[in-house]
Amino acid sequence: MAAEEFKQYVKANGIAKAAKEVDVVTTGTFGAMCSSGAYFNFGHSDPPIKMQKVWLDGIPAYTGLAAVDAYIGATELDESNNMLHGGAHVIEDLVRGKAIRLRATAYGTDCYPRKEIDTFVSLKTVNQSVLFNTRNCYQNYACATNSSARTLYTYMGKLLPEFGNATYCSAGELSPLLNDPYYRTIGIGTRIFLGGGQGFVIWEGTQFNPGVPRTPAGVPKRPAGSLAVIGDLKQMSSDFLRGLTFTKYGTSLGLGIGVPIPILDEEMAKACAITNDQISTAVFDYSEASRSRSVLREVTYSELRSGEITIKNKQVATSSLSSLWKARQIAETLKNQIVKGEFMIEKPIQNFSLDRVFKPLDVRSEKEAM
């Protein structure tokens, strides 16, 4: 059953029956996931080159790897900082089947004598093309607003002055990790829907922070867990993978992820029965230039979805940065794939550690860092 369908089913039939009758609940989310990128193996030129600098349609890619491997990050920009076309847009263009200009330079070695190459590549010409993301699919996220007198342009979108609006970016009750708050079924090796293809969870996501305050039901009230994921770009589709531009912030990758959650027992059914009124997050003032901004208030996802919340006695319009429409599409697609036997469910090879802490970066001496 798709997540929303399951919640309705529990409401009508109760946890015990739902746990008995339903095997799998499919979740989904589609939002901006900055910590994303893709690596490629371009194949060898003749004479061969050990690429030292690489540009894909003008966007630099990291190539401090073997000769013709490179990684392009979603937020990478060209030298002019053109935010309308970054690494994420190059990845989208490749997924759309377009040819991309590959330019590389090198210092030349005895085994790799070539010093430059200027050519075109596409998903058809490269060997590997793999989406490899270090932090996706955040388990809950903040709600952003702005108390200052000027418009702020942030990764949470355009924030109008004097609490002119508030933005949030979790799929709430549809979001994968909010339906499995203690990561019982989602871990290393979990097969997932990724950008329209099938991929895997390969590690905990960076900044994994399970120790945040939780509701009595265990649902994190702040950004908590996240996933590192991998998948073949050749399977993906621009319906679920998009280059995004956040004005004056930069580029990001709009990505769709779906995770099936097996209903192992009543506890799991209870976790998947969670609804938007039982999931909350904190509203932060993004005009506060600090890594630990103060909490203006806590708010539930049903309040956020209603289109308006109250902040300091003011009615403030809300915007989601996460597409409800696409999240539903993903949950539904995944459900159909499972029913047809096209998507196999994997038990995690290893579960995530609940002991991870999220450490800050301070300016420190060599001794203090030891």
Binding site: A166, G243, L324
Partner: protein
């Protein structure tokens, strides 16, 4: 009657009380949707309301004073192939022309409510909104 127009100001015209005259002499209700004008000229997007005859005379007045006038048939356009229906535009749209329909999960764009102010253009992450001026 209501109509939306784009005005192109020459440097001479930008120093004249053009908008004032439209209101005072031609009895039009003028809603300024966008304005970028300095001493070297510029552009303005206006919504003019009034009698058809007054609007016609107002436009003649503009043309006679070296202001280029172009009617807007469509102010803001959404490319439905590009829109991901995230909803970022919903909270910044001052006229609620963009709303999230929780039932369908999609963002609805009601063009009649749009005043072509353009705040949604640079707020849209996949860049689905375009202003036609």
């Amino acid at each position: 009657m209501k109509t939306k127009v784009v005005l192109n100001f020459s440097p001479e015209a930008s120093n004249q009380p053009i908008t004032h005259n439209l209101i005072a002499k031609h009895h039009l209700v003028v809603n300024i949707l966008r304005a970028e004008i300095d001493e070297f000229g510029g552009k303005m997007v206006l919504e003019l309301s009034g009698k058809a005859e007054d609007i016609r005379k107002g436009i003649d007045y503009l043309k006679a004073n070296s202001v280029g006038v172009r009617p807007i048939k469509e102010g803001v356009r959404r490319d439905d192939d590009v829109c991901t229906h995230c909803g970022m535009c919903v909270s910044i749209c001052p006229t609620k022309a963009l709303t999230l329909d929780v039932k369908t999960g999609k963002v609805t764009f009601t063009e009649e409510k749009c005043v072509a102010c353009g705040v949604c253009i640079d707020a849209c992450p996949p860049r689905a909104m375009e202003i036609l001026i």
